[in-house]
Symmetry: C2
Subunit: 230 residues, 2 copies
Amino acid sequence: VAPRPPASERLDRDQVLAGALAIADAEGLDAVTLRRVAAGWNVTPMALYWHFKDKDALLDALVERMLAEIELPGDGPLTGDGPFSGDGPFTGDGLRAVLLAVLRVLRAHPALAAITPLRIMRSDAGIALSERVIGTLRAAGNSPVAAAQLSVILLNAVVGMVTNQPGELAVADRAERDALLGAKRARLKSLPPDAFPNLTETADYFLAVPDEEDWYERGVDFLVRGVVRL
Amino acid sequence: VAPRPPASERLDRDQVLAGALAIADAEGLDAVTLRRVAAGWNVTPMALYWHFKDKDALLDALVERMLAEIELPGDGPLTGDGPFSGDGPFTGDGLRAVLLAVLRVLRAHPALAAITPLRIMRSDAGIALSERVIGTLRAAGNSPVAAAQLSVILLNAVVGMVTNQPGELAVADRAERDALLGAKRARLKSLPPDAFPNLTETADYFLAVPDEEDWYERGVDFLVRGVVRL
DNA sequence: ACCTGAACACCGTTCAAGT
DNA sequence: ACCTGAACACCGTTCAAGT
């Protein structure tokens, strides 16, 4: 997937990240090893240590790169519950738009989504995102403590919608994904309906999502509903 | 931490799990290696392969053991929104009680919490828990699809409350936990207040939680609030 | 049935050395 | 400044062999 230029050229930090991102998207996070990333540029693994302190720093940069793709709404003209609109009734439209913008890029990089929550505050893009979410929550009438906590919960929740989306299994590659799904299906299908009436009724929804857009719409609706005060 | 009996005795599957759980609780999930677990019983790493298919199966069993500790309320006398109380108004008290019961054991094993969401359906205890949560959500008037999805979101959210609890960093051990927290503090404290008014106002809440009980109460309140229909 | 020994194919990381 | 070579200390896992 990654291009292999001659080793004569110098290593470019951004290109390295782009290559690592491609590997993560295509084969999952486990495939992102220093040796593998280095091989994409015909370079030894130790070459990476000049550009990144260690593997953790590379993953931080990877998440930063992803979060930077987010196009926060209202950075242009202010609409809905903007960051500075303390006045007016809180409808949740502003928050909804922000969460949907985050989901757009998380869904494009499900493997990276899994390692984002702990890394949000380690990047400029993540900090800008948090500032925005907290602002929206403050505008909704939440105290500083409450707004801070809710921002953590909300961002964790949208990440979870991606990483826990039934049938997705963003962590593994195709082969073991099918194996894991098969085992899950076998287990759920073997449950006695009298002991597990609710789970047998909904078993299919844990194996695959009937409509992806419904999945994300309903999830965001739930989250926004919890924030809106009446 | 784990006792070291003479190698003369046979390996007991439950004891192995108890030892692994102790390691995870004390030093984090990274410390749980097959070599380390085996060393606790003066046995070679390969001995574990007779008791567990592979490391993933051991982790599954570990999560199962933890989830089995959950004491679901109303398994005795039915109170609140029990699993079979389709009648009566939904107050959310039943759901709240279940989530708090889950949080009680997750908080005791924060390192394991991180790997639970994907493994819930691989254990009897996790399946029983899901059945219960789905039932409560169905009783609240949700459709089968909605109930299934909300159960995933809710369980993921309570896990996130533990793993993302500011100042906790359940993943790492003490030494690097302090290092990571220090870096986070330095970054947040250096933010210009005019560009990040909301984040600078709440920076302290991202470094440590003022009151742990408040943290979990508020989180559960938020989740239950999203479920309750008016 | 239950465990060991030896080996394999990987990891991330350090450190001196090259250019 | 930027990268290599060689080595270290780990991983999970396989497989034949022991008792």
